[in-house]
Amino acid sequence: MATYRFAVNVTPKPGILDPQGRAVEGSLGHLGIEGVSDVRVGRRVELTVEAASEDGALAVVDRLASELLSNPLIEGYTVDVLSAASSMLSAARS
């Protein structure tokens, strides 16, 4: 068995009203920032999976992303494969 580290990025589906994204976008003027649009606010979940292969680990992540971490009616998700080094890096940053 090996361990694999992933990040699941959950964002509101296109067309779903995202008032948080809108509020962020609305605040950009106060910073003097122009030319930024389509701000969508979601959430990122990092996790470690123990499995025989990366494909096996991905299958587990896919299931928990679709059944728990996202609501398919309103949200989509993408999965990033993180290398051990990058997850250690993010741990060192925090």
Binding site: I16, L17, P19, Q20, A23, L68, L69, N71, L73, I74
Partner: protein, 251 residues
């Protein structure tokens, strides 16, 4: 025999006491159902009350959905049992797929806690048949994620199948569109409550259980709780009659 109505309690539920109180006022016996138990203790109906189940972590209602009691509630619902989710309870039922749609962050991004007005779309449901002519019904909302959402095809289907149970309304009982002051959260088509296709499971964002005594500012909500209790009693009696027939048949 007094009809027994269950009230599910999750860590973070906070309107369970109001639900218990309203059930008692409506003449039924409340039965508290802890989230870790699987038994529904032979109740004739289940209320999933308001609050912040499991802290509303991840998404409102999603963690609660996977609790042992909710698996039993889902089986009870599939068997035709009456299930009523209020506020956070509505969010739990929506996450569990027991009622259609989803509850998004309020359009104004703020937690809204105030008295609002709703009107029933139909009076032939187990949750509304005793509402009568009173319009609008006044009761409080208290939520941060109450903006009802479903895609346009689903919304059309809900209207067609009579699954829209309640809408937010103006004082003259006309629907309050998203953006109108009468619509507290931006709900599409002013939808405040929906039912499943078979009509035995319903969710409602406002709090009828909290508006169950005149001293609380309104007793309009009691009409809904009474409807549920009476429907539960009728169903329990029906089930008992069926049991008797089976016993007679077995002889």
């Amino acid at each position: 025999m007094t009809v027994r109505v269950g009230v599910v309690i999750f860590p973070g539920s906070n309107r369970d006491i109001d639900a218990v109180n309203a059930i008692e006022i409506a003449g039924a016996e409340p039965v508290r159902l802890w989230h870790e138990q699987a038994s529904l203790e032979s109740v004739a109906a289940v209320i999933v009350p308001g609050g912040f189940a499991y802290g509303d972590y991840l998404r409102a209602g999603v963690i609660a959905r996977f609790s042992p009691i909710m698996r039993s509630v889902a089986a009870f619902a599939a068997d035709g049992g009456l299930v009523f989710g209020i506020c956070n309870g509505f969010q739990v039922l929506a996450e569990a797929g027991l009622v259609p749609g989803a509850l998004l962050r309020n359009r104004g991004l703020r937690f809204v806690c105030r008295q609002i007005a709703i009107a029933p779309e139909r009076l032939d449901s187990p949750f509304t048949h005793l509402v009568g002519e009173r319009r609008p019904l006044r009761m409080p909302v208290a939520h941060g994620e109450g903006c009802y959402f479903a895609d346009p095809e689903t919304l059309d289907a809900l209207e067609r199948e009579g699954q829209v149970l309640f809408r937010y309304v103006h004082d003259d009982a006309t629907p309050a569109a998203p953006g109108d002051p009468g619509n507290p959260n931006g709900s599409l088509r002013a939808i405040a409550g929906v039912s499943n296709r078979t009509g035995n499971v319903a969710g409602l964002m406002p709090h009828p259980e909290t508006a169950s005594e005149a001293i609380l500012g309104s007793d309009d909500g009691l009409l809904i709780i009474r409807s549920l209790v009476e429907s539960a009693a009728a169903r329990a009696a029906g089930v008992r009659a069926t049991d008797r027939q089976l016993v007679v048949a077995a002889r």
